[in-house]
């Protein structure tokens, strides 16, 4: 019976809790959350407009995007680009004149040719059938600059650390002089595409 008691005591000792001074260590779990960004278009009535045929003035036009990101301007470049269709395919729809950015709208059914584009971007537009240029309005909510990105004239803006925001690019109502003509610009739908790209900085 004495043996049984000793065995019982030994078993009790080896199954006893840490009150005997066992070492303690922490388990550290480390998770690295990567930067991510997503962009979607927002459909609104401002995506479509009408043009006064007497003057070429439209009654309001804009592209709107929603951006969600946990990064910031140190991580990403936020780049807007414009494009239009011509008889030679899709081409850059932005151009600069006296430091101001303009967007070209092109007739969807009667595509303009590259000669029309060259005329509009020449600085003294006068012969540009089925293309109409309008000013791109500055967005006061964001710092914007106009420069080439990946070789293409673009509108680059700063998010200023915003993580969930809308950005709109509004197009001014009055056409650039020399780009609208009653007899040269066929009736129909005029359009351009605005793309917002989010590029990770190297």
């Amino acid at each position: 019976m004495k043996s049984n008691f000793i065995i019982f005591l030994f078993l009790s000792i080896i199954s006893a809790p840490a009150c005997f001074g066992a070492a303690v260590r922490e388990s550290v779990l480390t998770v690295i959350v990567p930067c991510a960004a997503s962009v979607n278009t927002i459909t609104s009535s401002g995506n479509n407009s009408s043009i006064n045929p007497e003057t070429g003035v439209h009654n309001g036009l804009e592209a709107i995007f929603n951006v969600k990101t946990n990064g910031d301007d140190s991580t990403y470049d936020f780049v807007l680009s414009g494009s239009v269709n011509t008889t030679s395919g899709e081409t850059n729809g932005y151009f600069l004149k006296n430091g101001d950015l303009y967007l070209i709208l092109a007739n969807k059914e009667y595509l303009p040719d590259m000669a029309a584009l060259s005329d509009i971007t020449s600085g003294s537009a006068q012969n540009n059938k089925n293309m109409i240029a309008y000013p791109v309005l500055k967005n006061p909510e964001f710092d914007t600059s106009y420069q080439k990105y990946n070789g293409i004239l673009s509108c680059i803006f700063k998010s200023r650390g915003k993580q969930n925001f809308n950005i709109s690019q509004r197009i001014g109502n009055t056409p650039l002089a020399g780009t609208y003509s009653i007899s040269d610009d066929s009736s129909g739908m005029y359009e351009a595409a605005i793309t917002l790209n989010i590029y990770r900085k190297p």
């Binding site: 962009v39 479509n48 045929p53 989010i198």
Partner: protein, 203 residues
């Protein structure tokens, strides 16, 4: 000998970045619609000539010129109006023996609607069309971008033609030679006038 087991563990989870972005670009098409439209300008709002009191002939022919700018194929209508007493504007074109004429009415003492209608119906008695004098339309000619030449539509008493996108000029020439059945001493001295109207509407 007391043994102590030491367990230490560190888990590091690192997810890779490449290819993890669901959407890093979005594209939106914006559109503006330009409707069909025609702009009509008159080269000279007021054309003047003089009437030879003895013969009733004009001293020089009238040339009415309209400049048309269009962004689409458009149907156009050329009509004339003469002011009648108590009635106002009435149709100033009529056709007789294959020739289209335009009626000019006195501006001070308006011809009656009956007097004008007498001319339109071919009444050859000048005493029945006092203060209204008619001259033949020599031609209505188009230059530029058009798809259909001017045609006089009898029951509408107007010219109809069609232009396409671009610039077109419509010239209406009024002959100086008076319709003698419409001129007599019954026509008071003074100014005589008619309106030539070019429009894209039928009203």
């Amino acid at each position: 000998m007391k043994k102590t087991k030491i367990l230490a563990s560190m888990l590091v989870l690192a997810a890779t970045c490449s290819g993890a972005y669901a959407d890093n670009y979005a594209r939106q098409t914006i559109q503006a619609y330009l409707p069909a439209y025609v702009n009509i300008k008159v080269e000279d709002c007021m054309l003047k000539s003089n009437i030879n009191a003895e013969t009733g002939n004009l001293t020089e022919a009238f040339n009415s010129v309209f400049k048309i700018s269009s962004n689409d194929n458009i149907d156009l209508y050329l009509r004339a109006e003469t002011m009648a007493e108590n009635v106002g504007a009435v149709n100033g074109f009529y056709k007789k023996n294959g020739t289209v004429y335009i009626i000019l009415g006195h501006t001070g003492v308006r011809p009656t609607a009956t007097a004008i209608e007498n001319i339109r119906q071919g009444n050859t008695d000048p005493e029945q069309n006092q203060n209204a004098i008619a001259y033949p339309v020599s031609s209505v000619k188009l230059t530029g971008n058009f798809t259909k030449e001017p045609v006089f539509v009898d029951d509408k008493a107007r010219y109809e033609f069609s232009v396409k996108q671009g610039e077109t000029t419509a010239t209406t020439t009024i002959s100086a030679n008076v319709d003698k059945t419409t001129y007599s001493y019954n026509d008071k001295s003074g100014n005589y006038e008619a309106y030539i109207i070019l429009t894209d509407t039928t009203t």
